[in-house]
């Protein structure tokens, strides 16, 4: 089985449970992006697309968090924090644009 480069997890009798679960988490959340793209393309109104984009940014933040632990590097967590802040500000800006027609 393929091993991650730097892991610091314990071996449970030669069976890396956490490594399998983290691989499953990364694969699952990569497949989870597909419904977001579907709703982003097909959504009837603009609000649906904003909802899908918000969910997509949140899933990418979670992927970056897990990947930061897997690669044992702090910098991916910084990227995730900045992406979360930018996604929040962008969602607020688009919501105000839908509501009033102007952002500020």
């Amino acid at each position: 089985m393929w091993q991650y480069p730097k892991t610091r997890k314990i071996c449970l009798g030669g069976f890396r449970m956490s490594s399998i679960l983290l691989s499953f988490a990364l694969t699952f959340m990569a497949f989870t992006l597909v419904p977001c793209i579907y709703r982003l393309i097909k959504g009837p109104t603009l609000s649906d697309r904003v909802v899908a984009l918000d969910a997509m940014a949140m899933v990418i933040v979670v992927i970056l968090g897990v990947y930061s632990y897997v690669r044992d590097s702090v910098f991916f967590m910084d990227v995730a924090l900045v992406l979360a802040i930018i996604a929040f500000v962008g969602t607020i800006a688009i919501a105000k644009y839908i509501d009033k027609g102007v952002v500020f």
Binding site: K9, I10, L12, M17, S18, L21, A25, F28, M29, T32, P35, C36, Y38, R39, P44, T45, L46, S47, D48, V50, V51, A52, D54, A55, M58, V59, V61, V62, G65, V66, S68, Y69, D72, V74, M77, D78, A80, L81, A84, I85, F88, T91, I92, A95, K96, I98, D99
Partner: protein, 117 residues
């Protein structure tokens, strides 16, 4: 059975709970019929799913840079996801033509908006 074993099992359980809520949010994003229902399900990704995964990382790592940043990120997502959902919902109510709100049984917010005018 050492302490590290218990921490690993607990962290795996919380990670599975977070992944389960991400899955539920995605099923709702496909299957729900309306903007408001989709908003209702996708907010769970932010509050329960992402917060669960981040708490899982914090439990696993402890007070190290990755753990502290994961906790900060989880709290930030927990604070900002309902605010964003509230803003999108209000914008969709005022200026979005949607399927569910026209044949709703009860609509108190519309009456309140008309009373304010």
């Amino acid at each position: 059975m050492s302490l590290q074993f218990v921490i690993d099992i607990l962290s795996d359980l919380i990670l599975l709970i977070g992944l389960f809520f991400v899955f539920l949010g995605m099923v709702g994003l496909i299957r729900m019929p309306d903007v408001y229902n989709r908003l209702h399900t996708t907010t769970k990704i932010g509050t329960l799913g992402a917060f669960g995964v981040m708490i899982s990382l914090f439990v696993r790592v402890g007070f190290e840079p990755i753990g502290i940043k994961a906790l900060t990120l989880g709290l930030f997502l927990m604070l900002t996801a309902p605010i964003a959902a509230h803003m999108i919902g209000r914008a969709a109510f005022h200026h979005g033509s949607s399927y569910g709100i026209d044949n709703a049984v009860i609509d108190d917010y519309k009456e309140a908006c008309e009373r304010l005018k």
